[in-house]
Symmetry: C2
Subunit: 425 residues, 2 copies
C-alpha cells in the first residue's frame, strides 16, 4: 500500500458495554490486520444509540484512514450501524437484489413466516455503490465503501464466527487490492524467553532496520517477533524477509515453536500429524483445560485419544491406579505423582505419549506448597520427563492453569522435534 | 448518587491493539459497575503513545463524567498513563511515601537489585492530592482524583488479577462514597428463554417503571433481567426492589437459575455445597470444557470428583467400558451412548451424579448428524435423564460446546432443586 494506513475498529453493541459479551471481534481483526502489516490505532465500543454512534464515527474519521465496524447489521430495530455510517458519509441505502434473493431463499427454507421475512430482508439494504461482502456463515451481509474524504469504511456483522470468517475471506483480499504495494508480515513465536530479553538481543538490529522491520511482543505466557516487509509483490516481500527470519532462527534456535501459528498446541497438532502420533492426558490442577485447549482445534480427535481429570486424590487412585501410599508420602503435588499420572494415562489409552499435570493453581494453598507450584510430565517410549514449575503466587488461578498448559505443550513440541525435552530458562 | 454518571473505560496498551491480549478488564469493570447501577457509555483502547493517549483523554472528558483507565502504571518507559492523565488535568506527580515504603519492602524481599528497585519505585509517584488505592495483588498502586471540571478519574493497573481485585476492594466503595444516594442493582439469571421473549412478557411493565427499573439482556446461551433501584440507603433500595424481584420470580418460575451469579455452574456449585453432593463428568464433544469450567471456580475439588474425556470411540470403550457394539449400532452421537457415559462415570468414581455429553461440535460433520446435534445426560440415584439438542449448524464450534455445557449444568441445577429435570422450551 502507498501509505501506512491507521485503522480504528468500532464495535457497536450495548451488550459489550454491559460486560455481557467480550469484544473478541476487535482482538481477532487486530490479529488478522497484523498479517497485512496494517496498524490498529484505536478500538472503540459504543452502544446501540444513534447519536453516540454518529459522534464516534466523526471522531474515527478524523483520526483513522480505515474504519472497521462490527455489529449492528441484523434485522432488529437496535441494528443501526449501516444507517448511521451511511448517513455520516452522505450515502443512501438501497436494496441489493442479489443479497435479497439469497436472504429470501435462506429464510423461507428455514420456515420463517412471511412477516418475519420482510423484516429480515432489510438486511439486504446497503449503501449505494458499496462493495458487498456476502455472508456464507449467517444472514447479514457486510460491505465496504470509500467516503468523499478518502476514509475507507468496512462493516461486518457482530457474531464472532461470521465476523472472523468474513474478514479473512472478503476483507483481507479487499484490503490487499487497494494498493500496488504489498505488505506481508510473519510472526515468529517463542516459548521460554521474555519479550524484554528478546528486545535486548535484537534491539540494535531492530533500530537499524527500515524494510523489513522487526518488533517483539508479549503474549500470555509466551512471546513473538513480528517481521514485516513491503514490496511491489508478495513474492518480493517474502524474499526480503527470508534472510531476516533465517537470522532470527539462527540466534534463537529451538525456543521458536512456530511461525504464524496461533498457539503452541497448534504446533503440537501439526507435529502429531506429521509423525502420526497420539497422546492422552491426565490432569489435576488444570482440571480439563489441556483437553479443552487441544480439542478447540478442529480435527483434534485423530491425535488426542482422551484423558482423565483426576481432580481429587480418590480419582487419581480410582482412574489411574496410583497408590494411596505414594500420595500420602509425597503429596498429590509432587514429582512422583506427576510422573505416574503421565505414565498411567499413556498405558491406559495405548497412546504414544501421556501427559500429566498436578499443582496448586490457587487461590488457596495446601499448607505445603506455594501457590503456583506445578509439576508437568511427559511419558514416552523413551522415558518420562518431569518438570517443576513455580509460576508465582501473585498470578491468577487462570494464569497458572494457562501457563502450565503452555509448558507441557512445549515439552511435547520439543519431544516431537527430537530436541532436549526440558530446557531450563 | 445525585446524577446518572456516564463512564468511559480507557484501556492503555499496544498489546490489546495488536490482538495479543483480550480486553477482559473493560468487560469485568463494566460488569461490576452494573452492580452499582452505573452506565458504561464507551470503551476505548489506545496504545502506549503519549499524544494519542492525551487526545483520547480530551475526548473522554467531554463525553464522560468518570474516566476509568486500565494499564500503563508499571515501571517501564512504556508506562505513561499516570503522567499523561495528571498532565491533562494540570496535576503534578509526587512521591507517595507510604507506597514507596511498601514497594521497597516488597522488592528487596524478592531480591531485586538496587538499580531495578529505583526504577520500580517510580510506581509510587502519584498525582498530588489523589486518593491512593493500595495494590495487594501486585506492585503498582492505583488512584483516583476529581479534576477541575468535575470529571472523576480512576486509574488501575492492567493485569486482570490486580485490576479486578482492586476495582472490587477499592473502587466500588470509593464510588459509593461519592454520593448521598445509593444505587443498587440485581441480575436475575434465566436459562431456557430468549431475551426477546422476556422483553415481550415484561415490556409494558418495564416501560411504566421509573424507580426501580428493569431491563433484559442476552448473554451467550442464556439471558438476564437487570433490576436497579436508587434510594437514600442501600436498605431502602433493596426494599424497593423486593416486590419487583418477587413478581419476576412468580412470572418466570423455575427457569431462573440464580440471582447475581456469574454462571449456571456457580449456581450448581452453591447447590452442591448445600446438599453436600458430588459429581463426575464424561465428555466427548466438549473435550474437557465442562470440567475446565467447573474447576475455574475456586474450591471445586470438594464437589467435582473428576472425569474422563472420551474423545474417541476407543476411549469410550477403554475408560468407560461402553460396548463397541452399541457404538457401532447407535453411533457415538446417540441417546444410548450419552446415557451410558453418565451412568458409567458416576459408578466409576462413586459420585452422586454423573454427567455425559456426546455430539458434533463441527466444523466437520460425521455424515449422519447435523453439526450442532448433541446429547447431554445426567445420571442420578433416581434415574438417568437424556436430552437431545440441536444447537444449529451455523454456530461456531466453541458456541456449540459452550451451550451444551449450559444445558447440562442447568439440568444439574434443576435436579438439585427438585424440579422437573428436562423442561422443553
Amino acid at each position: 500500500m502507498k501509505k501506512a494506513y491507521n485503522v480504528e475498529i468500532l464495535s457497536v453493541g450495548t451488550e459489550i458495554l454491559l460486560g455481557h459479551t467480550t469484544n473478541t471481534d476487535a482482538r481477532d481483526i487486530s490479529l488478522m490486520l497484523s498479517e497485512l502489516g496494517i496498524n490498529v490505532k484505536y478500538h472503540t465500543v459504543v452502544g446501540d444509540n444513534p447519536q453516540r454512534l454518529a459522534d464516534c464515527i466523526e471522531i474515527a474519521r478524523k483520526r483513522a484512514d480505515i474504519i472497521i465496524s462490527t455489529g449492528g447489521l441484523g434485522p432488529t430495530c437496535d441494528d443501526l450501524t449501516k444507517q448511521i455510517l451511511a448517513k455520516s458519509f452522505g450515502l443512501e441505502l438501497e436494496m441489493h437484489e442479489d443479497e435479497k434473493a439469497c436472504l429470501y431463499d435462506y429464510l423461507t427454507n428455514r420456515g420463517y413466516s412471511k412477516e418475519m421475512t420482510e423484516n429480515n430482508l432489510k438486511q439486504a439494504m446497503l449503501p449505494v455503490g458499496c462493495t458487498v461482502f456476502h455472508n456464507d456463515w449467517g444472514t447479514a451481509p457486510g460491505c465496504a465503501f470509500t467516503g468523499d474524504d478518502g476514509t475507507i469504511v468496512i462493516m461486518l456483522p457482530g457474531p464472532p464466527k461470521e465476523c472472523n470468517a468474513m474478514f479473512r475471506a472478503c476483507v483481507m483480499p479487499y484490503l490487499r487490492s487497494l494498493s500496488d504495494e504489498q505488505i506481508v508480515s510473519h510472526a515468529i513465536h517463542v516459548f521460554g524467553m521474555s519479550e524484554s530479553a528478546m528486545d535486548q538481543i535484537f534491539r540494535d538490529e531492530m533500530n537499524a532496520m527500515t524494510n523489513p522491520t522487526m518488533a517483539p511482543y508479549a503474549k500470555e505466557g509466551d512471546c513473538l517477533l513480528q517481521v514485516t516487509a513491503k514490496a511491489e509483490s508478495v513474492e518480493k516481500a517474502e524474499e526480503m524477509m527470508k534472510p531476516v527470519i533465517e537470522h532470527v532462527k539462527d540466534v534463537l534456535g529451538d525456543i521458536i515453536f512456530g511461525i504464524d501459528v496461533d498457539t503452541v498446541e497448534d504446533s503440537v497438532m501439526r507435529l502429531l500429524k506429521e509423525k502420526k502420533m497420539t497422546f492422552a492426558a491426565a490432569e489435576s490442577c488444570t482440571g480439563g483445560e489441556l483437553a479443552k485447549r487441544f480439542t478447540d482445534i478442529p480435527g483434534a480427535s485423530e491425535f488426542f485419544l482422551g484423558g482423565v481429570t483426576t481432580y481429587t486424590n480418590e480419582a487419581k487412585i480410582k482412574l489411574l491406579g496410583i497408590a494411596p501410599k505414594l500420595i500420602e508420602e509425597k503429596t498429590a503435588v509432587s514429582y512422583e505423582v506427576a510422573k505416574q499420572m503421565a505414565e498411567r494415562v499413556r498405558a491406559l489409552l495405548g497412546a504414544d505419549m501421556g501427559i500429566g499435570v498436578t499443582g496448586l493453581a490457587g487461590p488457596d494453598g495446601d499448607g505445603v506448597h506455594e501457590v503456583g507450584t506445578v509439576f508437568v510430565s511427559l511419558a514416552t517410549k523413551d522415558g518420562t520427563y518431569v518438570r517443576e514449575l513455580h509460576v508465582g503466587d501473585r498470578r491468577t488461578r487462570s494464569y497458572v492453569r494457562r501457563v502450565s498448559g503452555n509448558y507441557i505443550f512445549d515439552m511435547m513440541r520439543r519431544y516431537l522435534q527430537g530436541l532436549e525435552v526440558i530446557k531450563e530458562n
